[in-house]
Amino acid sequence: MDFRRPSLIARVAAPFRGAAQRFALGFLMIVAFATMFLGKADTHFVERFRTGVTDVAAPILEAMAEPVAAANRVLAHLGELAALREENQRLREEVSRLRGWHAAALRLEAENKSLRDLLQYRGPDRNTFVSARVVADGHGPFVKSVLVNIGTRDGIEKGQAAVTQLGLVGRVTEVGDRSARILLITDLNSRIPVLVEETRARAILAGDNSERPQLVFLPQGTRLSPGQRIVTSGHGGALPHGIPVGVVASVEDGVARVRPFVDWERLEYIQIIDFEVAAGGASGGNSSASGDAVAPRPRLPGAAPAAPSTGAAPAVTSGGAGSDTGASAPRVQP
């Protein structure tokens, strides 16, 4: 078969083909613009379309991500080998330092338990979590989101919190059958109710697509200093209380910026918290979860081993628990 010799029909049709292609180009350009407007007007339809496509692509992306992850692990191991001696020394020092903290934690845990028993206090942190693998990165200068390989069939719902062992990653914004999109806390559209751990001052962590999201709606007169820890406040009922978010990085010209704890470059596995909202809470919980469930759910094949924690987050902070039952949005002054 010779494809190089055009037939008579092809030669006659050639100019028409060109015109048809130009027409198609113009028409599709209009359709693409219309799609943009549709995406703005009918978000539900677009969301369904998106999740349909991501459901199909997730297994392929998962397969493609594996070699990249393997190569990265090899590189990381090689890098670690080079600094093994120094790392060992540093870890020994850290272990001896942490032993002291461990003893303090055990003492405080026992004290906390006895005090809770005395008060018959039932904490709000009854959560389960599901581990997921990051299969795609919402790349580019305009979007900060990731795609994970679990969806509604794993009990994932919109609004749930995504964390790593280090802290809060973001929230679930779109859920398909087997894929979900996590909007990172650095994204322009991300708004997380938080509080300054030390002073208990409430604020909203607002992403602006930079590496350092801002703290907005701080109460008047709040004094912030770099290094203060920021945790989720649990207000609004959508996220668990006390998930570590980051530390105050800078306060310049009245703008406080937070350096998130999460290592964005090593975002391979994350956990989605199935937060059971306290009575009267807004959303985010899976009502099928049993009241006292604290164990991680069975995970998907290929998913990472979960953090050894149970409860809200790998490192749940203490204090302020009494205010968590309130489900109203934070009322803060600019």
Binding site: D137, V143, E268
Partner: protein
């Protein structure tokens, strides 16, 4: 078309090579690459691939396919849906209209041409997102993305040049 069933199948499979490779580039561009700062400046690989096919085999990449690739990219990357399709269609349209200029030129000349087309694509992409979201994104990130896109174009060309042997000749 003459030939048996397998020949026809082979022919159509070869015709789909540009589309398939563009989809691969879509997937590559959303893969989580653990390089510091990469996620903010990930190159527009798909735009580079569409440019390549528009220069060398525009008939094998009809506008409808370009549109579908753009939608797939928007869907997976989380960008405003339709914006990538507009940008890719613009890249395709401009390149095809200037195809005479690119014909029989050296690689460097085509690369320079791509620099101009990619700059227009980057500006269009930035403008569409700013208008759609209503937020003035700082241009430097988009600019670095553009620089990286131009820098990886030789690599994209090298990869697609090999695949060119598979596609049927232009009619």
């Amino acid at each position: 078309m003459k030939g048996g069933f397998w020949q026809q199948l082979d022919h159509w499979a070869r015709r789909l090579v540009p589309f398939g490779l563009c989809l691969v580039f879509v997937l590559l561009s959303v893969l989580p690459i653990p390089v510091p700062g990469y996620s903010s400046v990930v190159p527009m690989l798909t735009a580079a691939a569409v440019f390549f096919w528009a220069v060398h085999h525009p008939r094998l990449l009809p506008p409808s396919i370009v549109f579908a690739i753009g939608l797939a990219q928007d869907t997976l990357s989380g960008a405003p849906i339709g914006s990538g399709a507009v940008v890719l269609l613009a890249v395709f349209g401009v390149t095809v209209s200037q195809r005479r200029f690119f014909h029989n030129r050296s690689f460097i000349q085509v690369w320079v041409g791509f620099m101009v087309v990619a700059l227009a694509a980057a500006v269009l992409s930035w403008l569409l997102t700013v208008l759609h979201v209503g937020f003035f994104y700082p241009p430097p990130a988009a600019f670095f993305q553009y620089v990286l896109t131009v820098a990886v174009y030789p690599l994209v060309t090298w990869m697609l040049h090999g695949a060119q042997q598979l596609v049927p000749a232009e009619t």
